[in-house]
Subunit: 237 residues, 2 copies
DNA sequence: ATGCTTAGCTTACATCGTAAGCCAATCCGA
DNA sequence: TCGGATTGGCTTACGATGTAAGCTAAGCAT
């Protein structure tokens, strides 16, 4: 009424626009920020709406559901790992260097987003053999490539991927929990129907899918346990 | 009206009573069972009520809130570890034996309750230095006693506790997730105000509380990472 | 008998996710 | 220039949820 037309004049958006228009990316980023500030539990459609100066239902033009919103937020945050110059950079100095960078990158990510990290760590992944927190097909492919091309057998590379995931998950989840993050059941999700993924862009994944799907949890557990005991032995006395 | 008095006659309850009366324990057990069957996401006060043949609000006479209900369920399930004869039994054959039993006991527990385990793993603990999944004061005390009396220094015992927790959490959480359990944010919780706990019964905890509260995540991470890399090196070629 | 206590029920409310439909502003082809 | 189509956000509405408040009937002790 009183306000002279807001979002005025023909110059579309780009200018000083105090209300830059809604779009999926903006929503996801706002969501990530919101969670970091208040914890996932407080992220509701209505609150995120008001945060963006908009009604809750407006979000649904860009986001099909709250579940999908959370998935999107996780993706957005994970994507930072690609922008991390310390991590991205072809494995120049051997696989150990690669794994070190990756581990440190993920730790940095977790510490930078302690509230989002539990989502990264516990939300179902797009395929059952993709394990958090290294939860994108791209990273799995990258991981397997680094190891196999360093002389690991396929099986060994897969085993390494699993061991690496378990290690990161356990340590980082406990570390952010200690920071007071809302680790605890954040939000419940139905086990997802395995969205049959397109592996065209991921040759290694395609080739190793079978092996990746095998259940070797028992052996993995026993081996890691034994190795842990060895390590602890060194602490004795 | 028509029904001739149910829960009849003076013989109080013990008999054939098809409606055995409500009490906290019974509610928690029903809750655990319910979660195991349908996943935590579907556990609502009303549904648990009907499960017990009772209105939702009746539960509140025994349970202050849903949060507390989940806590109780976790406790009930964890308590099974004490009943496990493979685990409980004073550390007869040295600390390694003790840790092996404990690890296997927890794994058994996780596999027996894949839907509850994520709660065990991610719900906030009663003190910040109690780390899931070994999340009861009793177990921490027991753990520290086993190690210190086997010659570990206090610091070493604490370090061992942390390494052990991370190991179990990572491996077991991923293992039950692979079983299709609702790992993903199950239910969100406010970080709990550290309920100042009574440590009178736990002399070691009392003595080591300071050390247990120190933040050594960086070192722990680096050491475990290095050890993991060593282990993976053996897989190469 | 009388009043107290107990255990479960009824009602009510705020908040949530989201389905359905509305409406004004913009865009586009004539 | 215009008039329909499209777009983007809003309004309303519904069922589910956790839980506060108060009720009531059965059993108890006096």
């Amino acid at each position: 009424m009183s306000e002279p037309e807001r979002r005025a004049s023909g110059d579309r958006g780009k200018s000083t626009a105090e209300k830059p228009r809604l779009d999926r990316q903006r929503i996801l980023e706002a969501g990530a920020e919101f969670i970091e500030q208040f914890g996932p539990r407080h992220l509701t459609m209505r609150r995120l709406g008001t945060e963006l100066g908009v009604e809750a239902m407006s979000l649904y033009r860009y986001i099909p559901s709250r579940e999908n919103l959370l998935d999107g937020i996780v993706e957005v945050v994970i994507d930072e790992l690609y922008q991390d110059p310390e991590v991205y950079a072809e494995p120049r100095h051997g696989w150990q260097d690669y794994l070190l960078r990756l581990a440190h990158g993920l730790r940095r990510l977790a510490l930078a987003h302690p509230q989002v990290f539990p989502l990264i760590a516990t939300r179902p992944t797009e395929a059952p053999w993709v394990r958090p927190p290294l939860r994108s097909l791209r990273w799995v492919e990258s991981f397997l490539k680094a190891l196999t091309s360093a002389g690991f057998s396929n099986q060994a590379a897969v085993d390494a991927y699993r061991a690496f995931s378990s290690f990161l998950l356990g340590h980082l989840l406990l570390e952010v929990a200690a920071l007071g993050a809302d680790v605890g059941p954040v939000d419940d999700v139905e086990p997802r129907p395995p969205r049959s993924t397109d592996l065209d862009d991921y040759p290694l994944l395609q080739r190793l899918q079978e092996r990746l799907s095998e259940d070797r949890s028992e052996q993995e557990f026993e081996e890691a346990l034994e190795s842990l005991l060895d390590r602890l032995e060194a602490l004795q006395n």
